[in-house]
């Protein structure tokens, strides 16, 4: 990883921590309100307990609360500009207040992560290699450096294990085109070919919570 990438990464981590959700401070009423919104509204797309059925919508179950809260703030501020964020979530997040954002992030982070779905055949091995080792010759760093060896993520970086491959591919392409403007991920994705995105996405989709 270049020094530039490292500094961007540290900046990103700091910004995520700044919007860190304070789930411990949540009162029962906020938790109840978030649960009602999650099941009554978010579930229409993101599925029961965040286990999305339609691959257009990301799995939220088990995602880290900080990451979820940061995304909801980005939707509300209209700073995340990939097409589905713009078409769906800018509206949905427009009237969310800080407490509800924290409550929703907490609700989904407590759900059991998605089990892996094994599809993809030979591409899986290629995807695993790319994920764990990257392709230094072509400027692609190892994803595992930030997202963890099992793609379980951390407070600063999202869980990718078990995520729909279609969603992951769309995000990589949005990072590549800067429609979703995240400098470090633009750096990672800009050198990736479509088949490499597909391979790594299929590998990530295959990973369960204990991988």
């Amino acid at each position: 990883m270049s020094q530039r990438h490292l500094s961007i990464l540290l900046g990103l981590a700091a910004s995520v921590l700044l919007v860190s959700a304070h789930a411990d401070d949540l009162d029962a009423a906020t938790r109840a309100a978030a649960r009602k919104v999650a099941i009554g509204t978010c579930e229409n797309c993101h599925g029961p307990e965040g286990h999305s059925i339609l691959p257009k919508y990301p799995v939220l179950a088990g995602q880290h609360a900080n990451y979820l809260a940061a995304q909801m703030h980005a939707f509300k501020a209209q700073t995340r500009g990939d097409p589905d964020a713009l078409g769906y979530m800018w509206g949905m997040a427009a009237t969310l207040d800080d407490d509800l954002i924290t409550g929703l992030a907490d609700y989904y982070s407590r759900q059991k992560p998605e089990a892996g779905k094994l599809v993809g055949g030979p591409a899986l091995a290629h995807g695993k290699d790319l994920y764990l080792n990257g392709d230094p010759a072509n400027g692609i760093p190892a994803c595992a450096t930030c997202h963890g060896p099992g793609a379980e993520g951390s407070d600063a970086f999202p869980r990718l294990a078990g995520q729909h491959s279609q969603y992951l591919i769309k995000q990589l392409k949005s990072f590549q085109s800067n429609l979703r403007n995240v400098a470090v991920m633009h750096g990672v994705a800009q050198g990736m070919k479509s088949e490499e995105m597909e391979a790594v996405a299929l590998y990530l989709q295959s990973l369960g919570p204990k991988a």
Partner: protein, 459 residues
């Protein structure tokens, strides 16, 4: 007492941008391509059109009960349809003169509508349409569905959405596009020839009745609804009082009492797929009415009873590039025509009628699409209910059969999500009982084939 079919009736299915303004979401959040709903759109409707992401003017009590929640902007929309219809062979001149009417018709507009479509109060919303139609030349109430909805979350995190709807067209409140009010064709000509027979629930009573029903949807999968309808005539005047009611024998087709309506459906979603199977139906007891001072009629005594029971299904495959859906319904109607038979208006006291429709729709990038649809209506032969003409006429049946079958092919171009250009061709294999000489005056079914070009804007 045959009702003119709704097969090619004036279109009724719409989707409106005020929902997009209210939710802040693009049309495809709720639709494959308007007006077909996806799962989120169905849930939005079941929840009473109340999902609102706009800044609100609010009023609350000291106990934080919400008393008012108004968006800054009222949820208003407008729609215009402009069309051109070409009949395969011109109709005879209505004056009886030895000539023909024009075979091409420009409709400008075919319809112009204003909608209030969106939230009214925290748990109340409406889809209310006022339409000017060039066929009536007047402005009138169109499809309307006003709802109360709420939800209950169980301990196991399953949800139950429940509510009430008051509406003016049986099935307009339904969530799937396999039922008549919002089924294919989503738009059709009003300048063609409609078949002689159609079931009551298939649009025949649209805007002629009003009903209330209670519904519940468990876990976004199992849907049940029960309701009743009563006559709600537009423009009817009681000749004694000069007021809009009560209805008497001068009004035609008046419901004898409350007509029960039911709906049961199950939806299963997996991956990009969604499958729904269901049943719906209603029983309508109608007095023929339509009396005059010289030919009085009573709203008592014998009545006609129409028992409609239908099955339906809808399959959808929804991806970013490709959208496909396959939809179908079969409506079976048992008619007890005691009133018509006694009055000599039907040859039989018991008739049946069955309508089947299946349509397959495909869109690429939600921009270029097409539909292929099959329709068929079959039923009892009744030479009085479906009469032969005494002079050249087209909505008649020489052999007393209501059988009408055919195909619809449609091509669509959607340059923007709120604008559609459609080219539709309807072919009749059989029309009112026969493929050739169906009227006894040498008009063939295919003479009623129509080419229909539509420009459809919603804003």
């Amino acid at each position: 007492m045959a009702a003119l079919a709704a097969l090619l009736a004036t279109p009724m299915a719409h989707a409106v941008p005020s929902f997009a303004r209210q939710t802040g979401m693009t049309c495809e959040a709720c639709h494959t391509v308007y007006p077909e709903l996806n799962h989120f759109g169905r849930m939005f409707k079941a929840n009473g059109y109340t999902l609102d992401n706009l800044k609100q003017v609010r009023g609350i009590t000291a106990k934080k009960d919400e008393m008012l929640s108004l968006a800054d902007l009222p949820p208003l929309s407008a729609m215009i349809q402009v069309s051109y219809t070409q009949l395969a062979k011109p109709l005879p001149d209505g004056t009886g003169a030895p000539g023909h009417s024009q075979s091409g018709t420009v409709d400008f507009p075919q319809q112009f509508s204003i909608f209030y479509a969106g939230k009214i109060a925290p748990h109340v919303g409406a889809f209310l349409q006022i339409t000017y139609g060039n066929d009536s030349g007047t402005i009138g109430i169109d499809n309307t569905d006003i709802r109360y909805a709420n939800n209950f979350i169980f301990e196991n995190d399953k949800s139950l959405v429940y509510g009430l709807t008051i509406n003016n067209n049986p099935t307009v409140q339904d969530l799937w596009n396999s039922t008549p009010a919002f089924g294919f064709p989503y738009a059709g000509t009003n300048a063609g020839v409609s078949p002689i027979a159609g079931t009551q629930i298939d649009g025949t009573l649209a805007q002629d009745v009003a009903g209330i029903s209670a519904y519940a949807m468990w876990n976004e999968q199992l849907y049940a609804e029960l309701g009743v309808y009563r006559s709600a005539k537009q423009g009817a005047v009681n000749p004694v009082s000069g007021a809009a009611g009560p209805l008497d024998g001068t009004t035609s087709n008046v419901l004898r009492s409350s007509a029960p309506y039911f709906r049961l459906a199950y939806e299963y979603n997996w991956g990009r797929n969604s499958l729904e199977v269901g049943t719906y139906g209603a029983t309508f007891k109608l007095y023929p009415g339509g009396g005059t001072t010289t030919a009085p009629a009573l709203l008592s005594g014998p009545f006609n009873e129409f028992r409609d029971v239908a099955e339906d299904f809808q399959y959808q495959f929804i991806a970013d590039e490709h959208v496909f859906s396959l939809t179908g319904t079969r409506i079976h109607e048992n008619m007890n025509l005691d009133a018509s038979y006694a009055a000599g208006a039907s040859a039989n006291s018991r008739d049946t009628l069955t309508t089947t429709r299946v349509n397959a729709n495909y869109y690429y990038q939600r921009k270029y699409g097409g539909t292929l649809a099959h329709f068929a209506t079959t039923g009892s032969i009744d030479n009085v209910l479906y009469p032969a003409p005494v002079a050249p006429g087209v909505v008649t049946s020489a052999n007393g059969s209501p059988e009408t079958t055919g195909w619809v092919g449609e091509l669509n171009y959607v340059p923007w999500l709120n604008m559609k250009l459609s080219l539709q061709y309807t072919h009749f294999g059989k029309f009112n009982g026969a493929s050739t000489n169906y009227d006894g005056f040498n008009r063939n079914a295919s003479a009623n084939d129509t080419t229909y070009l539509l420009f459809w804007l919603v804003y």
